[in-house]
């Protein structure tokens, strides 16, 4: 992992003390709320429905066991014993006190964490493939480039007041697990003609009230040019992005309005001026960052472990968990273990302080002290020996973290919705809970197979409903919670926006509607066709007929 240097540490510590002073001036009455609000938001402190909410950045979804233990401590000492992992790989605490927030931030700084740029119209925490550094299908570890972007974007003076917030995602793998095509900028590590690693650049993706899939801006960008090119992209957006209308201020609107070609031309023109300037990345600096992500000391193991295969044979529950939660690792004998934060009937993304401490211990014992947060609101132990998976699974069971449902209908993405969020128009979590309860039977869940179901409690789409195979959007209809259903969304390399299937459903009818959709799929699928495969083959008609009749 990257370790802060003096510069990083100084910046973060100074910010903590600055905020401590601002908080005390707000409490003494020296600052009005109007003056204070933008200052607290710059430090990730929102005011939500019931209390303040602190959003802590998890840089590109990477956590050490030490950091996870600190998050557990903050949950226990300053909050109500739990935290909520978000769709941007961050964590939110729902009950911090304003007076104690500077102490929380000081404790976070001790473990090289902060809440800077987790709010506001700036470049937010860069997100990445949660299997970075471990995935079998990875060209190169994207964290190197995420860290370079983090250093460039932190307190970037020119991009502190952009037209709107700005999100960058990076993947180094063939399978896109970072949803890069629904980000303001999406970056894919690719190989150039001479075999060197560079970047494919996408821009203008996003969800919210105007969902759009990103356009490809460049087939290949040499590695050394990453920051100068990003700077040019941001500059063009900063100059031409709309500031007159909040709802048209994201880069997706700019790219859509002027077209990808015109945007690209403007970027290339800007880039020509700055390409060989101060932002050109020296090989020495790339190497310095690369060294921070040197792989851990993997043992030399056989690809297949007989002990592991025997355990799967003996214990059906273990075999099921392996089938759904374990993924291929790039190193022989190792595996990637996904920890589902979606027990049937549970709150997606929530983890108790005890669970956080437990997974920190498991990370130390079985994964070189490394953890990841997935944008699907799950946790990952990236480097587990196949031989250790059984013990890990047993341990996870002891803290109720062994749900075998990654990538299934039980693995629901849901925003906090009206249960916590002041922007929400309907609740999300209870719908997620009812659906995961309805499909709690594991035989049935695994028979249904791979399907993503995402729920947002308002048009801002924090629950990524547009890119769920099944999407649910909660709205307010004359004071009642109402749920619109979209089908056909995808967040991966085949990214697409789901289409509304028809009139929405009341809160007491939405779960039945989802079951009808699933039953329809089961009745018309061919062989082992996935939900999205069936939908793409047959279109919406059979689902529409099942839901609304043929009239």
């Amino acid at each position: 992992m990257y370790v802060y240097d003096e510069l990083d540490r100084g910046l973060v510590n100074e910010r903590v003390e600055e905020f401590r002073d601002q908080v005390s001036r707000r409490i003494s009455g020296e600052l009005t709320e109007e003056q204070f609000r933008p200052l607290r938001l710059m430090n990730g402190l929102y005011l939500q429905l019931h209390a303040y909410m602190l959003r802590v950045a998890v840089p590109y979804g990477v956590l050490s066991s030490t950091q996870m233990r600190k998050l557990a401590r903050i949950a226990r000492v300053y909050d109500r014993g739990y935290g909520h992992f978000t769709t941007r790989q961050n964590i939110q605490f729902n009950w911090p006190k304003l007076e104690e927030t500077p102490d929380i931030l000081a404790e976070l700084a001790e473990v090289e964490m902060h809440a800077i740029q987790t709010s506001g119209n700036c470049i937010r925490n860069t997100t990445a493939d949660q299997f970075a550094g471990a995935a079998a299908d990875e060209l190169e570890d994207p964290r190197i480039w995420c860290e370079i972007i983090r250093q460039w974007s932190t307190f970037h003076p020119e991009f502190t007041f952009l037209p709107r917030k700005f999100k960058i995602a990076v993947t180094g793998a063939v399978s896109d697990r970072a949803a890069i095509k629904v980000h303001d900028i999406g970056i894919v590590l690719v190989q150039g003609a001479d075999g060197e690693v560079g970047f494919e650049i996408w821009a203008g993706g996003g969800l919210g009230r105007t969902p759009m899939i990103a356009k490809k801006i460049r087939d290949f960008l040499p590695a050394a040019d990453l920051l100068s090119y990003l700077e040019a992209m941001l500059r063009v957006y900063n100059r031409f992005g709309r500031r007159d209308n909040k709802y048209k201020a994201r880069i997706k609107i700019l790219v859509h309005e002027i077209g990808a070609d015109a945007y690209r031309d403007a970027v290339e023109a800007e880039w020509a001026d700055i390409r060989d300037g101060a932002l050109a990345l020296p090989e020495q600096e790339i190497s310095r960052i690369r060294e921070a992500f040197t792989p851990p000391a993997f043992e030399v193991l056989d690809t297949a472990s007989t002990a592991f295969e025997a355990r799967k044979f003996e214990d059906r529950g273990f075999a099921r968990w392996v089938a759904s939660n374990v993924r291929r690792h790039k190193v022989a004998g190792y595996a990637i273990a996904n920890i589902s934060l979606k027990p049937a009937g549970g709150i997606p993304g929530d983890a108790t302080a005890e669970q956080m401490d437990a997974v920190a211990d498991y990370a130390d014992r079985w994964s070189f002290g490394e953890l990841r947060v997935a944008h699907e609101q799950n946790l990952v132990l990236p480097h587990v020996r196949q031989d250790d998976l059984y013990d890990l699974w047993l341990a996870l069971g002891s803290v109720e973290l062994d749900a075998p449902n990654i990538g299934t209908l039980g693995d629901i993405i849901a925003c906090p919705g009206m249960d916590y969020c002041s922007l929400a128009t309907a609740r999300s979590i209870p719908i997620a809970q009812q659906i995961s309860e309805r499909f709690a039977d594991l035989e049935r869940l695994h028979d249904i197979g791979s399907v993503s179901l995402n729920i947002s409690g308002c048009i801002n789409a924090c629950g990524h409903h547009h890119v769920g195979n099944i999407g649910i959007l909660g709205v307010d209809k004359k004071g009642e919670e109402f749920y619109q259903v979209t089908l056909g969304g995808q967040a991966d390399e085949n990214a697409s926006i789901g289409k509304i299937i028809g009139p929405g459903f009341a809160s007491d009818a939405i779960v039945d509607a989802i079951e009808t959709i699933i039953e329809t799929y089961l009745s018309v699928r061919q062989d082992d066709e996935s939900f999205i495969g069936t939908l793409n083959r047959l279109g919406q008609t059979p689902f529409k007929e099942a839901l609304y009749g043929t009239a």
Binding site: L49, A51, M418, Y420
Partner: protein, 95 residues
């Protein structure tokens, strides 16, 4: 006119509070009730004068039950008086 009360979040801990006859309370039933536009405006002015103690005061519509208790008309506001519907061990409902 429908009955109105003033709510806000407390500055120090962010918790939900209601304007009473002589201050602020975490209990909605203690809220000062307005029955007219003018009375609501007067209550709001009083609330805003407490900007050093509270954040974002605004008026909400409530219904009064025969036992005198006050119930917000909007579900969002009802949630604020109780806490998350999915964690009944948290918020005022837990007390």
């Amino acid at each position: 006119m429908a009955l109105e009360i003033i709510t806000a979040n407390r500055l120090g801990d962010g918790l939900v509070i209601f304007l009473t006859a002589d201050g602020w309370s975490a209990r909605i039933d203690e809220a000062a009730v307005s029955e007219s536009k003018d009375a609501t405006a007067a209550l709001l002015a009083r609330a805003e004068a407490d900007a050093g103690l509270v954040v974002g005061p605004y008026e909400i519509t409530v219904e009064q039950q025969p036992d005198g208790s006050l119930h917000p008309v909007k579900y969002r506001e009802a949630l604020r008086t109780r806490g998350p519907s999915v964690r009944t061990d948290l918020g005022y409902q837990a007390a």
